[in-house]
């Protein structure tokens, strides 16, 4: 890993069109400005990793559980709009 020292207001250029600028340092927090092309997606690492994990769980959804979910959708309870009010229909089979 390349480690560079920068002061507030100084920048790092990555490739030709990505610029990271240190805006503020306060305690153990650093505010960083990121300029990048639209095609480059920038995310906080922990958020990205959480979404990775969530996707991995999503693809392992079981067929049986899926059938149950589909069954619930076909029930009258769901069609009554109960869900859209945010309430829970505890009697749903």
């Amino acid at each position: 890993m390349l480690i560079l020292t920068r002061r507030v207001g100084e920048s790092i250029v990555v490739g030709d069109d990505i610029v990271l600028t240190v805006f503020e340092v306060r305690g153990d927090a650093v505010r960083i400005g990121i300029e990048a092309p639209r095609s480059v997606r920038v995310n906080r690492k922990e958020v990205y990793e959480e979404i990775q994990r969530s996707n991995e769980q999503a693809v392992s959804s079981s067929d049986d559980a899926l059938d149950a979910l589909r069954g619930a959708l076909d029930s009258d309870a769901l069609d009554s709009g109960v869900l859209e009010s945010g309430a829970v229909d505890s009697e749903r089979d």
Partner: protein, 141 residues
């Protein structure tokens, strides 16, 4: 640039979509078929063209989360190649482990589809307060 965004149930979903940016965790899977799972236009299966055993269950959020109106920034929709007036549809990824009670939807990172183009991205929304695992059928489950 603005685009029409709807989180209502999609009525005109393409049969196939191609992700224009990697799906987190599934960078090699770009092309998916879309199949409706029910007659209500709520649940769909995205099945990988490359890995047929790989599938995501997705839902039109309006049915479960009527107030869900993710704000899409111009930079977000740019990846879809949409232009003014193109219809953009939002689907949420569903995880269901044991049954209905534990089904959740990922509201933080919806799948956004440019209906007319058949392109898609899984966006990480800037609103970090949106839940990654929102119970599908109410909080009490």
């Amino acid at each position: 640039m603005t685009s029409t965004m709807s989180s209502e149930r999609p009525t005109v979903l393409p049969d196939q979509i191609a992700f224009t940016a990697p799906i987190p965790g599934f960078a090699d899977e770009r092309e998916f078929s879309i199949t409706a799972l029910d007659a209500h236009g709520v649940l769909y299966v995205l099945r990988s063209r490359r890995t047929p055993g790989l599938r995501f269950v997705v839902a039109a959020p309006g049915r479960f989360f009527p107030d869900y109106r993710p704000a899409l920034l111009p930079a977000d929709v740019a990846a879809l190649g949409v232009t003014d007036g193109d219809e953009v549809l939002v689907l949420v990824v569903v995880t269901v482990t044991n049954g209905i009670a534990d089904a959740t939807a990922n509201l933080l990172a919806p799948i956004v589809i440019a209906a007319g183009r058949g392109t898609a991205v899984q966006l990480v929304l800037a609103d970090a307060d949106l839940p990654l695992r929102a119970p599908l059928l109410g909080a009490a489950g």
